[in-house]
Structures are given as structure tokens and as C-alpha cells.
């Protein structure tokens, strides 16, 4: 097979994959009698055309950075965690419990670390059982994490309706968190308020997410644990021979993964909603898969891919508002991006190989 130069492998392959996914999405739109050009214009206009649109795009991107990192860590350990959705829902529960039932926090800066701890603990706990079953019984982690998504959905309905809902309230949601714990949004931060003149949902969690991306990079490429995780993911046998415990790595990688997925709750539950509502994660856990694959399993790639999917998500919402295109178009594009970047990358490489000087390497 033709070997591509490194820059093409890193930048061109994801880009071409993305264009192919977009192309097929356009065909789908044509097939259902919609105009892809108009749809694209509405998306760009609504998500990137104004600071206000960017405020939403970055808000979604924040969540996707957390869930993308969650999938990334598991991927590096050779584990496919599709349970990010359930872990993110449980993270929301952790945030709500900390903010509603522990001490009254005088300031958001004190509430944030506590809420992060709650979110991470609950997210990790939800990943712990599938991780343990994978590590000890070899139970297929893809199936168990999917099952835990369904179980989480049912659990959250039960808790919201029967326990967290204040007396006399109709909709299944928790009480509002104290006003002191509200995270500053980008339009309230000095300096940034010059750019974001209207109230936007993107909040300081964005900086936490960026910090998390850097920390994950440090962990994966600058520490012994990260090396062990990657070694285990590359070859289980070789890692075990080198004295790396499969049980330990499976558990640690999945707990970290669950904790990161749970952490997204500081963005949507604490930052945006200010209370716990039903289905708070809105599929962000699943988008993490596309983000990690598109970002080539690297934290920097995750940041860029998260912004791209933030655009897709916000743009898709605009489509739902201004056109008759159903919002589910987002799911189609998301699936196609996963397909092209994760499963058809060989095809993309073969196609690109035509354009580069074919340099045959012996197999």
C-alpha cells in the first residue's frame, strides 16, 4: 500500500473523510428533497456567523471535549467505551447531589471543584461495573456499556420523578442550584465580554475542558501510567509480559474514561441548565466517539474535532429552527464521520495514495 507522508496522514485523511461524510449527507438531503447548499448556509450562519452563534458552538464543543477525551483514553487501552452517554448522565447526578445536598457554597469558584469531584466520581462509578466485568469475566464491554446507557436512562427518570423533583413541580427536574454557584458565561468574563455581547451558554467549563485536554496529553505521553495504557492497547500480550497488569489497566483506563465523560456535566448541568433535567447529556456521550476518531485519538485533535462537532450540533439545531430538515440529520453526519474516519480510513488512504508518488513498501 502507498505510504502517505506524515502531514497527509495527520491532516489530509481526516479532512477527506469529513468531506466524504459531508458529501453523502448532501446526497441524503437531496434524496429527501432538501437543498444541501441552503442547509449548509443556515448551519454556518447560525453556528459561526456571529459571536452569539460561536457562544453556542463553543458550549457544545466543551461537552464534546470531555466525552471525546473519555473515548480517547479507553481507545488507547484497546477498549471501546460507548457508555459515555450513561456516564455523562450520572455525572449530572453527581453535580446535582453536590450542589443541592452538601454545604451551601458562597462562590462558584468553590462550588466548581466540588461539583467536578461529584461529576467525576459518579461518571467513574458508572463505568466501573462494565470495566470490572470486562477485566474479570471478559464480558464484552461494548454490550455492557450500551446496556448501562439504557439502565442509566431509566435510573435518571426514576430519581428525577420520585426523589429529586421538588414538591409541587410538574416537570421531571431537580430544584434549581443556588445562584452563587452559577458559572460565569463567556459574556460575563472581562475581556471576552467585548466579543460576546449577548448572553451565551458557553462558560468557564470551556477552560476546564481545555485544561483537561492538556492533562490527558501529559498523562498519555509523559507519564509511566500513560505509557502502560498505550502499551496495553497496542498489544495485550506484550504488555502483560512486561509486567503490566491487564486488570489494573482496564480498570484505570475505564475509570478515567468514565470520570471524563461525567465531567461534562459541569458544562451542561451546572453551567447551562442550573438544575438537573431529564436526558441532560443529549447524546454528547455518543458524539465523543466521533470526536475521538476524527481527532485521531490525540488531545489536540479532540479540541479541533470537538469544535467541528460543536458547529455541527449548533448548526443542526438551527436547521431544526429555520428549515423543515429534521434535527436527526446530526446523527446521520455523526455516524458517517465515524464510519469514514474509523472504519473506512484505509479506503481514504488508498484514494489519497493515487495523488502521492506511489512508493511501494513490501508488506
Amino acid at each position: 500500500m502507498t505510504r502517505l507522508p506524515p502531514w497527509a496522514d495527520v491532516a489530509l485523511v481526516p479532512l477527506v473523510s469529513l468531506l466524504m461524510a459531508a458529501g453523502i449527507s448532501a446526497l441524503v438531503l437531496l434524496a429527501i428533497g432538501q437543498s444541501p447548499v441552503e442547509a449548509f448556509n443556515v448551519m454556518v450562519d447560525g453556528a459561526l456567523g456571529s459571536a452569539y452563534g460561536w457562544g453556542y458552538t463553543l458550549y457544545y464543543a466543551t461537552s464534546f471535549m470531555f466525552t471525546g477525551l473519555a473515548v480517547l483514553i479507553a481507545f488507547h487501552a484497546g477498549l471501546f467505551n460507548i457508555g459515555g452517554e450513561g456516564q455523562a448522565q450520572l455525572g449530572g447526578l453527581g453535580v446535582a447531589l453536590v450542589l443541592l445536598y452538601t454545604v451551601p457554597f458562597p462562590h462558584w469558584a468553590l462550588a466548581l471543584p466540588a461539583a467536578m469531584l461529584g461529576a467525576a466520581l459518579f461518571g467513574a462509578a458508572w463505568a466501573a461495573i462494565p470495566a470490572f466485568l470486562q477485566a474479570t469475566r471478559g464480558s464484552h464491554i461494548v454490550i455492557t456499556t450500551i446496556m448501562f446507557n439504557y439502565i442509566a436512562a431509566a435510573l435518571m427518570v426514576y430519581l428525577l420523578v420520585d426523589w429529586l423533583r421538588p414538591a409541587g413541580q410538574m416537570d421531571p427536574a431537580s430544584a434549581r442550584f443556588a445562584i452563587e454557584t452559577r458559572l460565569p458565561t463567556l459574556n460575563e468574563i472581562p475581556g471576552l465580554s467585548l466579543i460576546f455581547t449577548r448572553k451565551v451558554p458557553a462558560n468557564v467549563s470551556l477552560f476546564v475542558a481545555l485544561l483537561a485536554c492538556w492533562l490527558v496529553w501529559v498523562l498519555m505521553w509523559r507519564t509511566r501510567l500513560g505509557y502502560e495504557i498505550r502499551a496495553y492497547g497496542k498489544s495485550e500480550k506484550a504488555a502483560a509480559y512486561a509486567g503490566i497488569s491487564p486488570f489494573r489497566i482496564t480498570m484505570i483506563a475505564m475509570l478515567l474514561s468514565g470520570a471524563l465523560a461525567g465531567l461534562m456535566a459541569i458544562n451542561n448541568v451546572m453551567g447551562e441548565a442550573g438544575r438537573l433535567v431529564g436526558n441532560a447529556a443529549e447524546g454528547a456521550g455518543f458524539i465523543g466517539i466521533a470526536v475521538a476518531l476524527m481527532g485521531r485519538n490525540h488531545p489536540l485533535g479532540v479540541v479541533l474535532a470537538a469544535i467541528l462537532f460543536g458547529f455541527l450540533y449548533q448548526g443542526g439545531a438551527e436547521l431544526g429552527l429555520w428549515t423543515s430538515i429534521p434535527i436527526e440529520l446530526r446523527t446521520v453526519v455523526q455516524g458517517l464521520v465515524i464510519l469514514f474516519t474509523g472504519a473506512l480510513d484505509q479506503m481514504v488512504r488508498m484514494l489519497l495514495g493515487v495523488f502521492f508518488r506511489p512508493r511501494r513498501v513490501p508488506a
Binding site: 471501546f80 455492557t144 446496556m147 439504557y150 429534521p326 446521520v332 472504519a343 473506512l344
Partner: protein, 322 residues
Amino acid sequence: MDYAMLLQVLDSTLRLATPLLLACLAGLFSERAGIFDIGLEGKMLMAAMSSGAVAYLTGSVWIGLAAGILGALLFALAHGVASITFRGNQLISGVALNFVASGITVLIAQSLFGQGGRTPPLSGAARFNPVELPFSGALSGVPVVGPFYAEVLSGHTVLVYVALALVPVTWWVMYRTRFGLRLRAVGENPASVDTAGVSVVRLRYAAVMVTGVLCGLAGAYLATGLQAGFGKEMTAGRGYIALAALIFAKWRPWYCLWACLLFGFFQALALRPDIVEAVVRVKVPVPFLDALPYVLTVVVLAGLVGKAIPPRAGGEPYVKER
């Protein structure tokens, strides 16, 4: 729980086990050939939408069934191209196609009918109607066996009996035909099949296509037999539960039947809070019942499955020696 109640639960067990069984056998063909298929869910969903939509538009459930199979085949082909021709990651391809199916079914149903991603309710010849087995009336007077025959076995749609018949058929194909032998070989040691001069690629494509047809039956049954029309995300994780059943059955046809009946029984229990409460003697909240099949799936997967060894070459793309 008296006998009449038990019969009711067993009756819905058989109804609910059918889509699981069809999907489970579908997965069996693919995985025995060495292609993991997480995408059973998406293929079923696609088949449910196509069959529901076409059955409504044409008024014929049979044309609907054909459309359902076609829809599932399309996704099976995509999975084949990704995982056989381009040697991609089979898990990721399956998950990706599930997302595509989840979105595109709503997109198409919405653009056709404008009812929020559902198809209009089906009735009459546009859906599969119950079939009375012969002598069910005459035999119902016989104690114990009679009511079982009349209540549980009789009165299902034709696809239920097709699914049951497919179990011995699958066994026969797998263990008594040349195709089956080669199929199993290609899942264990593709190089040996290749050496014998049989095309690995063609065999695997054939297996993936059979998977598509069976998923088509499963999805069509959901939309035109079990329920009257397609609804958004109506598969509700059945594709994954079928995979759990397949692992539980250790990739063997007859065990698939028992595993799917067990999981069907769990789903039937979730529909009967009165029975569950009579057994555990505590009031059980509805969300717990909703979660029950998924919890029990995990329990079975973790606790009851002994050592489940998948086909040896499963998940590995075959690279011909050069």
C-alpha cells in the same frame, strides 16, 4: 401466578423473543464467518422503517417485507465494504452504521409522512396478522397441553414461525452443508480456506448478506408484526441484546433459541408489573421494569456465561499473503 397468567407471559415471551432470535441468528452467520457485527441494531431499525413505510404506501405487507430486507441489505453491504474490502475496524463500522440508521430512518420517515419520524399506523393487509395453528380450537379442551398449544404456540404472525423454523435450518446449513463448513472455517482460520482455493472475501460477503436478510426479517417483524408501524428508535437496544444472546449461546444455533427465549421472557416480565410485584412482594417503580431486560442482560453476560470463545478469526480482517 396461576397457569392462565403463565400462559399469557409465555405468549408474549414468544412474541418478544422473535426479533431477538432473528437478529441473533443473523449475528451468528456474520460472526461465524469472522465478521463482528455490532450493527444488528441499525440494520433492524432500517428494515423496520423501510417495511413500515412501504407496507403503508403499497398496502401490502409482503412488499413491505421485501423493502425491509432490501434496507437491511444496504447496510449489510456497507458493513461488508468497510470490514471486508477495506479491512476497517468492524466494531467501529457497526457502531457508525447504527448512528446512520438511527438518524436516516427518522429523516426518511419524516420526509415521507411528516408525522415526527413515525410511519402512519398499519392495518389489514399492510401488516402481518395472527395465524391460527390447525386444531388449536379442538385441542384447547385437553388439560395443560391444550391451552398451551392454543394460547402460547398458536395465534402468532407467520414471521414468528419462520423464526422458529430458521433455527433448525441454520443448524443444518452450518453443520451439514459445504457452505456452512467453509463459513465456519473462514471464521476460525481464513488462511486455510484460502489455501483450499475458496475465496475468503466472497464467503464473508455471503455471510454478511445472510445477516442482512435475517436482520431485515427481524426489523420487518417489529414494524409490521409486533407493532403496527415504525416508530423512532423502536429497536430499543434489541440488536445489542441479540448479541448478548449470541455470546450466551456461544455461537450455536439451538442455544440461540433458548437464550433468546430467556431474554424474551425478561422483556415480557417488564410488561407485566402485576406479576413482578406478586413475585417480589414490593411495589416496583415503572423505570425499574423498563431497565429490567438490560440489567438481566448484563447479569447473564457476567454471571451465567462461562468461558465464551468467539470464532478465532473474528474481528480480524483477512490479508492475503503477498
